[in-house]
Amino acid sequence: MREFHFEIMVEFYFKILPYLTITITYVFFSLLFGFLLGALTAYFRLSKNPVLKAISGAYITVMRCVPSIVFLFLVYYGLPGLMRTHFGIDMNDVDAIVYVIITFSIMLGAYTSEIMRSAYLSVDHGQFEAAVLVGMDSLTAFRRIIFPQALHAAIPNVGNIIIFMLKEGALAYIIGLQDVLGRGYYLNSLKANAYSMETYLALTLIYWPLTLLLEKAFRELEKRHSIAFLIQKKSSGKEVKA
């Protein structure tokens, strides 16, 4: 085996690190649009309209059954043609990150809708009835009674989906986007792939701590958002005031 060049790894690490902004950009926007689409899908799924229910159900099944890479290819190779012939929009100058965000927004829409649906269903329906009984209108009841409890139930899953997106987004290197993995791939190929081990270790040292940090943050968030913790905080706050 060839010897390991530590200094090359350090050099690559710091050359790749700035491209984390690209990764964070697509993670953020994919999640944003994904959650909007997911909310709509969950709403359809829980509605009584059988057509909407069937459409959202089919959408979720299709997204669950197709690998992300296949869907990314479909969007990357299909969307420009579709846009040109049907809407007259030229997508030649569009950056690769746009395709990544479109792909993963649509994929995450299906995943997040399941998170939201199960979170919503985890809250006892009696809570809603009680809220309406004490005179809240249904929107207020949802906002003040159902939503905070559903949010708490969803926290671990939201953490998982962010980590999923962070890792799955790395596939974007295939359509030529230079995010963290893409930049590493590019730097390595500039040196005729001679420093693969150094590159891969540098990449691991970027992705791994980031996921650890996210996992820890969401565990902490879950703890802080638990009902027991909130009650404790409230009662201790009262003591200070008194």
Binding site: P67, I69, L74
Partner: protein, 235 residues
């Protein structure tokens, strides 16, 4: 955009030919993962010193990095490590004659092993301790109690997560082209490249994966039902 349906129909049999490769990759990875995850879960549950630390770091790294990066690493390291080893023992095996699929099995099994380990560990912990004590009370030995009392109950808890992992592994085989293994996605890439009809080729595999994974999910659900049939008997 005009869809070349003629090409899509012509390409479909060429692509379906590679479905067995995809299934073989997933099955191989799952089998390797089953063996190692059992071992790793045992190490974690028994808190074997040093080894349990290593397993924990392994789980953390695998969960924290993209699968594609794991594949790059295996594809890069495994051959050179093996070559160094083979030269040392003078086995005379040529490293370049080993089929790339073997590296793909290994790379795909890394994350499957991690998720299986978590599932098995959590499932065994979920079985009430009193069950084991009761089994001892009626005179069972530890292995018998494990096989007949703990394991059947733990399987019911672990299966849904393990089935998800199996489906994820099938999906992950689509990345095997990064290791120069031609499976369904790789075939579409080649066909698309030869005819410059990428979209049509990928649309083909979109449907192939849809049907394939839908069928696998269905079969796994059936298997799950069959394996936890004792629940019905007791209910």
């Amino acid at each position: 955009m005009t869809l070349d349906t003629k090409f899509m129909i012509e390409a479909l049999p060429e692509i379906i030919r590679y479905v067995p490769v995809t299934l073989r990759l997933a099955l191989g990875a799952v089998l390797i993962a089953l063996v190692f995850s059992g071992l790793f879960a045992f190490i974690l549950l028994k808190k074997v010193p040093v080894l349990d630390k290593i397993v924990k770091v392994y789980l953390s790294v695998i969960r924290g990095t993209p699968i594609i990066l794991q594949m790059f690493v295996i594809y890069k390291i495994a051959p050179s490590v093996l070559q160094a080893y083979f030269t040392k023992i003078h086995s005379g095996i040529d490293i370049f004659e080993i089929d790339n699929s073997w590296y793909a099995y290994l790379a795909l099994s890394l994350s499957a092993t991690a998720f299986f380990t978590e599932a098995i560990r959590a499932a065994i912990l979920s079985v009430d301790k009193g069950q084991l004590e009761a089994a001892y009370m009626v005179g069972m030995t530890a292995p018998v109690a494990f096989w007949r009392i703990i394991l059947p109950q733990a399987i019911g808890v672990a299966l849904p997560i393990m089935c998800n992992t199996i489906v994820d592994t099938v999906k992950a085989t689509s990345l095997a082209f990064a290791m120069a293994v031609t499976e369904v996605t790789g075939a579409a890439k080649i066909l698309g490249g030869m005819s410059l009809r990428y979209f049509e080729a990928y649309l083909d595999i979109f449907f192939v994966y849809l049907i394939l994974i839908f069928a696998i999910e269905f079969l796994l659900k059936r298997l799950e039902k069959w394996l936890v049939r004792y629940r019905k008997a007791t209910a």
